[in-house]
């Protein structure tokens, strides 16, 4: 342990899990996880699942689970730790597909989604298009000082979602805004958040209804995810129209903002430790290990919630049926019991496959391949074009709006040809 982290740990000896929802923790939650991880799990964190509206919906207090093995235990027992989100259901926000379903319906839906989500469709087929988009975005920025979080980071994932789902590309600006509002990260007023949720729903409702009509009229429809969701059938099951709309909404909110933060965190490391830039430029096979280690150490998604369907226990602490549990993947990703020097950025860790950023078990992120693909194309585009990335004239600031994501609000950098 370094002197600095020893000091932080002793300062935080009395820190309680219920205080995690505060701006200074959200900006850098990791010292706080360290202070709590080896204590018995604590109850009382009130924070907001995706889609809910602070100031309007009332959060349920939750147990805070921070140890790697405890998180795994929760993830491997979906029948005890349910993903149904009562708070989201009670709110006006659309509930998410798969993310908030339990078996047996989850398994049925996942099977249908898997048909639509063929790796070829969402990865190989769109890679050349994605490379073109990255080129276009970098052309616009050219060189010199740029805030990476202003356009480069959020635009790529939003554009990818328009392409994959099959709506006009120029609507990506709308998608960006809606995803931000839904994920409870950025500063929105209650009214703005509600308005965004309504617009998001209406947008996909219109698009999906049009597509059903086109299919019914025998028109040729594009081979995109929207058509695939409508037409996919597994074991005699198909999606209802409402489920197709909810799938589109889920993809946008799950895929747009989180990936933007991932891209920002990758760039942050390249600026912080410039030797990685040179190593990656010389050997592109290091890009994938670089992305994986960033996903582990700085994975954007911090935690998701589960609800207990029966009395149970986690790490020796008894918890009751109906209790909420917040599982902190990001804390598991820095648990020293699993990771050597967990705060250091180390390429090619032998156990890197164990990171929890895309969750663990039946709810493992179906879009993980898309996120990795976007990260790969962005890094390749930057490495092709520039000789270095230097710090910009102002410091890089972390967002403090919500505990769901660890990511940058601003990332001023200098792109050097």
């Amino acid at each position: 342990m370094t002197m600095a982290s020893a000091t932080v740990a002793s300062d935080l000896a009395d820190f309680e899990a219920k205080d995690l929802y505060s701006p200074e923790v959200i900006a850098n939650p990791y010292p706080y996880y360290d202070a709590l991880r080896d204590k018995p799990i604590q109850f009382g964190l009130e924070d907001y699942p995706p889609g809910t509206v602070p100031g309007q919906d009332k959060p349920y207090p939750a147990w805070v689970v921070l140890k790697y093995h405890d998180i795994i235990q929760v993830c491997r027992k979906p029948q005890i730790f349910s993903s149904r989100d009562i708070m989201q259901e009670e709110s006006d926000a659309p509930t998410l597909m798969l993310v908030n379903h339990d078996d047996p319906r989850h398994a049925e839906l996942r099977k249908i989604a898997q048909i639509a989500f063929k790796p070829k469709r969402v990865e190989a087929d769109i890679t050349p298009w994605m490379q073109g988009v990255v080129d276009r975005l970098l052309d616009k920025e050219d060189e010199g000082e740029v805030d990476f979080m202003a356009n480069l980071a959020p635009d790529l994932p939003a554009l990818v979602m328009t392409k994959l789902i099959g709506t006009p590309e120029e609507d990506y600006v709308l998608l960006r805004r809606w995803a931000n509002a839904f994920m409870v990260t950025s500063d929105f007023t209650t009214e703005e958040r509600n308005q965004c949720n309504i617009e998001l729903w209406n947008y996909y409702q219109d698009a999906v209804e049009q597509r059903y009509a086109d299919i019914a009229a025998g028109k040729d429809v594009p081979d995109d995810l929207m058509s695939a969701f409508i037409q996919a059938e597994a074991d005699g099951n198909m999606l209802t129209k409402e489920e197709v709309i909810r799938f589109c909404v889920t993809l946008v909110v799950a895929g747009a903002e989180t990936t933007g933060y991932l891209l920002g965190n990758l760039i942050d490391t390249l600026v912080e430790e410039p030797h990685f830039f040179d190593e990656l430029k010389q050997d592109r096979s290091l890009i994938r290990p670089f992305i994986e280690e960033s996903l582990r150490r700085d994975g954007p998604i911090q935690r998701l919630h589960r609800v207990c369907t029966q009395d149970t226990e986690i790490g020796g602490t008894k918890i009751r049926e109906g209790d909420w549990v917040a599982i902190f993947f990001a804390s598991g990703n820095r648990d020293p019991e699993i990771w050597e020097r967990p705060n250091d950025f180390i390429l090619k860790r032998s156990n890197i496959g164990r990171h929890l950023t895309f969750s663990h078990g039946v709810h493992h992120c179906m879009g993980s391949g898309i996120a990795r693909n976007e990260a790969t194309q962005m890094l390749n585009g930057i490495l092709d074009r520039y000789s270095a990335i230097e710090p910009g004239s102002a410091p890089r600031m972390r967002q403090t709006g919500g505990l769901l994501n660890y990511g940058l609000e601003t990332c001023p950098i200098r792109l050097v040809r």
Binding site: R110, Q114, R349, S350, F358
Partner: protein, 105 residues
């Protein structure tokens, strides 16, 4: 129950028991031979990737379409590559030998 011979990433050989009717992935994951299987068999994470010993390939059968799609783009994909979550243990797989593939990261 059948016996599987699994070679971990350090080249060490393990003889492990596998239950008939269950995915090979479960036996590998639960015996700590470097198979993380983080998605639990959803064909989503690629962390249960193994190489099947060539003498067993015919017995094991071909990859499914989606599995082949998943494996195609991988750095360490070989002709003997399979996702162990997609292989169901049957009595005639007694003695199956496989090697855990390197992590993609």
């Amino acid at each position: 129950m059948v016996t599987i011979i699994a070679v971990d990433r350090d080249g060490e050989e393990h003889r492990i028991d596998a239950r008939v009717g269950e995915p090979l992935m479960l036996a590998l994951r639960d015996n700590d031979v470097d198979v993380e299987a983080v998605c639990g068999g959803e064909m989503s994470c690629l962390t249960c990737h193994v190489y099947i010993d060539p003498t067993w390939l015919e017995q094991i059968g071909k990859r499914t379409g989606e599995e082949a799609d998943m494996l195609d783009d991988q750095l360490y994909s070989h002709p003997e590559s399979r996702l162990s979550c997609q292989i169901t243990i049957s009595p005639d797989l007694d003695g199956l030998r496989c090697t855990v593939a390197p992590p993609e990261g």
